[in-house]
């Protein structure tokens, strides 16, 4: 019987070389040359957008092109009285943007420009009795927020402020029969959420809960004939999963289980040869989100022109080293 598989076909016209300079230009002009509609529409995630852009610039050695002072002033204005940080000025605080802000400040070695004590209290206040975390005061629970909370606190050296054992217990309760993790207990395994859960267990040193061979196999099953990776069975490949699947495999010490050359070919094909930047799939419009994950994936795959990235934090390795953090990784 025929094998039906959702995938794409790469054509020879897609880029095959890494267009580093174009990516730097793409990021530095993003938000200047963009059309107004897009800028309005992304305001609600601006802080994460800044994190994606800056991390990309640092990984390709172009961070000095960004005005550091502007960014620091912006972050300062985004912290509210309760200590949390919002996506933009006047937006409500949220764990997602609080982590992005802490990642940026860690990169700039400027954590002292925000009120760290209040920020820690804010993160702490979002932990629930079952160990899970809400994203904000409105109570949406998701394993993404478990990752955000521990990543954020560990960068601040304040992990002991929350109940780590309970937090781990919740994440482990989201493990499925296929070895993967979902957003909540019973939710389907999903590569993005697997990354969050493995990252969380890596930071807290609890990777022994994972069946590394079973999950490693599920993750390398995500590679399709085109070389690209999807996030769940029978879904299309997307550059952002190159990061989430790959970082997860690296945490598990099983990165070599995917076929490196064909993934590199797929990721490179997702570059926009005119504007720079990466898109989800070849030929689509590029954006900073897919650009950082494309560059970070290539870094994990050993591209020498990109600085090493830490698989747990999605931050430059030298920053994680400077902070003295050693998130757990498995080796075969």
């Amino acid at each position: 019987m025929a094998t039906l598989m959702k995938d794409i076909i790469l054509s020879s016209s897609h880029p095959k070389e890494l267009l580093l300079q174009k990516h730097a230009d793409f990021i530095s002009s993003y938000g200047v040359n963009k059309d107004e509609y897009e800028y309005c529409m992304t305001e609600y995630l601006r802080m994460s957008g800044v994190y994606w852009g800056l991390t990309a610039m640092e990984l390709i050695g172009n961070l000095e092109r960004i005005n550091k002072q502007e960014i620091l002033e912006f972050i300062k204005l985004c912290q509210d009285d309760a200590g949390g940080i919002g996506a933009s000025v006047g937006h409500d605080p949220h764990l997602l943007y609080t982590l992005s802000a802490v990642q940026i400040l860690s990169m700039y070695d400027a954590l002292d420009i925000v009120n760290v004590d209040r920020l820690v209290q804010y993160v702490k206040s979002l932990q629930q009795p079952d160990g899970s975390f809400c994203g904000d005061k409105w109570g949406e629970v998701d394993t993404r927020f478990s990752f955000c909370a521990v990543a954020c606190l560990s960068l601040l050296g304040k992990l002991e402020e929350i109940d780590v054992e309970k937090a781990v217990e919740f994440v482990v309760s989201c493990m499925n029969f296929d070895g993967g993790f979902g957003s909540r207990p019973g939710s389907e395994s999903h590569a993005g959420l697997i990354y969050c859960c493995l990252g969380m267990l890596s930071i807290t040193g609890h990777l022994h809960y994972v069946d590394a061979d079973l999950l490693g196999w599920w993750l390398c099953e995500r590679q399709l004939p085109s070389g690209g990776l999807n996030g769940r069975p029978e879904k299309l490949p997307d550059v952002c999963y190159s990061w989430w699947v790959l970082a997860s495999l690296r945490i598990l010490g099983r990165l070599h289980w995917i076929r490196r050359e064909s993934l590199v070919t797929f990721v490179l094909a997702c570059q926009d040869p005119e504007t720079g930047g990466f898109s989800d799939r070849p030929g689509d419009l590029p954006d900073p989100f897919h650009t950082i994950f494309g560059l970070a994936a290539l870094s994990l795959l050993g591209e020498p022109a990109i600085k090493p990235v830490n698989p747990t934090y999605c931050m430059p390795q030298h920053v994680v080293d400077r902070l003295g953090l050693r998130p757990q990784k498995l080796t075969l």
Binding site: V32, N176, G186, Q328
Partner: protein, 337 residues
Amino acid sequence: MAEADSSSEELYDETNWVLYKYRVDWKDVTPVPQDDGPYPIVAIVYSEKFQDIYDYFRAVLKSSEKSERALQLTKDALDLNPANYTVWQYRREILKHLNKDLIPELQYVKEMIEDNPKNYQVWHHRRIIVEWLQDPAYELSLTETILSQDSKNYHAWQHRQWIIRTFKLFQNELQYVNQLLDEDVRNNSAWNQRYFVINNTTGFKPDVVQQELMFTLDKIKTVSNNESAWNYLRGVLLHHDGGISQDQNVRQVCEELYSSGNRSPFLLAFLVDMCEENMERDDGDKEESLRRALQLCDVLANEYDTIRREYWNYMARSLAQRMDCPEREATGSTKTD
């Protein structure tokens, strides 16, 4: 531009839009422009309508105005950007404050979900309204509508699981799962839902395990190259006393598929796991199990699943090693860095 003398929605349709700054009933409010601080990160060029609406939104947020017109303003703001979580939060505060009837709100958020089915905020708003109402009456049909357009929509499944678990609506769920699997037997979300339902109702008791094995084997016989079905089969067998290798039906179906020439990587992978388990059993022919497992890993690596060659080579090495020192578990060889 003509001034409006009423705030009624109908007045301001697409063709007839009146900016808030020209509306008589908003004359008392001073708009608050966006302030990104002394160094705006980028030069902001808002469209006039967007800027107008959000300037007035910031103004009501600042003055904490919780009125009918502010409620309408949040709707206009959300029409322009349904992902703005701050607007949703403020809308909820207004709904609470005005003690609004929440049934029309359900209708409104349904429309928003239909237009933005992959947006976190719209689904979360829905959940909060349902929690306030404590009424799950419309939720199954809403999620079915969304899943009929995209049968793997993660938000819809998440919402559906929450509803089913919270309001104990497991009763007809397997039927729904069956219907989805009839439409697309590779729908991993539906297989996951199947596990969710059984795990939260009967549990995987021996008779349920048998029933689920029959169901799954039947699907595998029709479409064998289906990752989801094989994963589910393993999931069910986690609850089987005989592990994955001792169930007669499972063995028979797998061997028959293999004999008939089927070389789906998932079938071969499953046979490898059966061999592995046999190697660990006292009564099995260890040498023969290992020989077969290594042969399967070899054809997987070099013929049927070459993209995962490194994984199959690893499996082969780890099986051979275990034969030499049987006390080592597969994952026992994993060290922490």
